[in-house]
């Protein structure tokens, strides 16, 4: 490497390896908290957003009192069954402003009793009216799902031990497993999808508590440009047997919890940042004082203020960078390995996309390096402003 101010800075970092390690470790811890916390909040938030967007409906109509169950079913990995009369669809469809309506029926498998698979949710959808599953189906299968066929959600494929299985018995009937849907980040990723055409046979076998003409949930689209809120209110007032969930209100309780977690996390990060900044300031004040004579010598033999600032800044950047890389690795490792420990993450199957993970990591890098720079800046500027001989005499 050609001799340069960069090489001098590198040598300075190696001079006191322990002190360098302490600073790198402390910045790393801060960044790991930031990456871990951000990953947690972002993954839950994104999962909610994705789930809401994926559903593609403006309003969800559920049996009275089943709002919570529906949210748990759609947003989390929980298995819930709730039913209402299919005839209610006609009444909901007649409400002014409703343009499209489809339904799904949810069933719960019981291993060894009705089915070959561990507890899982089975979603029966109406292929004629459906606008929820069909877009994914088209991508994964390229054709419609036939009677006696099942397609798996992305997580169900691995979680239900159906990796090498061609067919499986569900509610006493044999189903051919014809494919796997792409990951959606919603609670439907761990579901088994069948068409509504199979429902009669399932009821006939008597292996589920589903009765004829029962459905679980209606998905409603409203006329473009109309506000779904008054239409939802009208549905509730005209069809008293149902409750309405607006798409924008889905996961409200989770969002409220998330806001509290966000506040706690922010306070923790601010306190940890102040502590790290103070530590950097203390260490760099000591470093600058310790090297004051060397700085004076460098100034006396021709170094400009910018050379001195540049040398220290390279050291600061390298320290911040090393600490941040360590923190990003630790934070991501924690966020990946501890996701099963947190109920919220586990239930929602919340994960980050690669782009989101890169964004969080870049945020960690910026904060880690930024804190190092801010912490060290005052000491560096002080030494830069002193006259060479004054620095030499200060020692």
């Amino acid at each position: 490497m050609k001799f340069s101010i960069f090489k001098v800075a590198l040598r300075n970092l190696k001079r006191n390896a322990f002190r360098t390690a302490v600073l790198v470790f402390s910045i790393g811890l801060l960044v790991s908290i930031l990456v871990f916390g951000s990953s947690f909040i972002l993954s839950v938030g994104s999962s909610l957003e994705r789930a809401s967007a994926r559903l593609g409906a403006d309003i969800l109509v559920v049996p009275v009192g089943a709002r919570e169950y529906a949210e748990e079913m759609l947003l989390e990995t929980k298995v819930k069954t709730f039913y209402m009369d299919k005839g209610l669809m006609d009444r909901v469809g007649q409400v002014e402003g409703v343009t499209e309506i489809t339904y799904q029926t949810y069933l719960e498998t019981i291993w060894g009793v009705c089915c070959d698979v561990p507890p899982a949710k089975v979603v029966a959808f109406d292929q004629d009216t459906d606008f929820i599953v069909r877009p994914w189906l088209k991508e994964a299968l390229g054709r419609e799902l036939k009677k006696g066929e099942a397609i798996l959600g992305h997580t169900a494929y691995t979680d239900l031990d159906l990796l090498e299985v061609d067919s499986s018995v569900l509610f006493g009937a044999k189903f051919d497993i014809v494919g796997v849907l792409e990951e959606t980040g919603t609670g439907l990723d761990n579901a088994i999808f069948i068409t509504d055409a199979n429902i009669d046979k399932i009821i006939e076998k008597g292996k589920s508590r589903l009765k004829p003409n029962q459905i679980s949930l209606m998905f409603v689209k409203v006329k473009e440009g109309l506000d779904p809120y008054p239409i939802g209110a009208k549905i509730e007032s005209e069809v008293v047997e149902v409750d309405v969930i607006q798409r924008s209100e889905m996961g409200e309780s989770i969002i409220a919890t998330l806001k509290d977690i966000n506040r706690i996390f922010l306070i923790t990060i601010v306190l940890a940042s102040v502590l790290s900044m103070f530590l950097t300031w203390t260490i760099f004040t000591a470093i600058v004082n310790e090297r004051a004579r060397e700085v004076g010598i460098m100034r006396a033999i021709g170094a400009k203020g910018s050379h001195i600032v540049g040398m220290f800044m390279i050291e600061v950047f390298l320290l911040g960078f090393m600490g941040s890389v360590f923190g990003i690795a630790l934070g991501n490792y924690l966020s990946l390995t501890l996701s099963e420990v947190f109920t919220l993450l586990r239930d929602m199957a919340a994960t980050l996309t690669l782009v989101e993970r890169i964004e969080v990591s870049l945020l960690g890098l910026a904060v880690g390096v930024g804190i190092c720079v801010v912490g060290a800046l005052s000491s560096i500027i002080r030494i830069k402003r002193l006259e060479p001989l004054t620095v030499l005499k200060e020692v």
Partner: protein
């Protein structure tokens, strides 16, 4: 026109209520290639005067002209360029950077120079050879004796081909034999390269080798001959 001109230069330090006149109304002209020694007791202002000439201590009043340019009227970049390109400074204390090898210490001033030579590595090796330390090229200052460090500091001062060499007690902590070697080397540089050489010392014997001798007393100068 003299190469260096000091015009009514004063340096005043204020320590609480006490005012110290380190340098008082000094006017002096120095021709190119001269070897000047400045002697005086501790606190007489020798180092302050040398530092002012070296561009590392701004005077409280007066002007330092180098080739007709008022050095302390220059901006920070101009002043740094003067220190890097025109002056070689030998300090009275160990002044090598401990994290750099002997060769790297020699290369250090070249990265501050506006005319960074492409062959600076070769030049550093030649200078190390010239001061008899070619075998110590990769040694760190802690692995060198005081005399060896001093010789490397002298070689470093010559790396950017300065027009003035300033030496502040360059043999202060050396034994007699090494002191003689170092002084012979500096005189040779002065005569062979025509570099103006200003030596600050408290030793009358060392000062005697100069072409002009100046004594400082309480910040004022008096020429005592050549």
């Amino acid at each position: 026109m003299a190469q260096i001109e000091l015009k009514d230069v004063s340096k005043v330090y204020t320590l609480g209520d006490t005012v110290i006149n380190a340098v008082e109304d000094v006017s002096l002209g120095i021709e190119k290639g001269e070897f000047i020694s400045i002697i005086g007791h501790s606190g007489s202002g020798k180092t302050s005067l040398l530092s002012i000439i070296g561009g590392i201590l701004s005077p409280s009043s007066g002007r330092l002209l180098f080739g007709g340019t008022d050095i302390y009227a220059l901006d920070e970049t101009g002043l740094a360029a003067y220190r890097a390109d025109s002056v070689g400074y030998i300090f009275q204390f160990a002044s090598l950077l401990p994290v750099l090898t002997a060769k790297e210490n020699l290369l250090l001033p070249t990265i501050f120079s506006s005319q960074r030579p492409s062959n600076s590595g070769k030049k550093a090796e030649e200078y190390l050879d010239m001061v008899g330390l070619k075998d110590k090229i990769n040694a760190y200052p802690a692995q060198l004796s005081g005399g060896q460090q001093r010789r490397i500091a002298i070689a470093r001062a010559l790396m950017n081909d300065p027009e003035i060499l300033l030496a502040d007690e360059p043999t202060g902590d050396l034994d007699e034999e090494t002191e003689a070697d170092v002084m012979d080397f500096l005189k040779r540089i002065n005569s062979e390269k025509g570099i103006t050489f200003i030596l600050v010392t408290h030793s009358s014997e060392l000062a005697r080798g100069a072409t002009r001798r100046i004594r400082m007393t309480q910040g004022r100068i008096e020429e005592i001959g050549s």
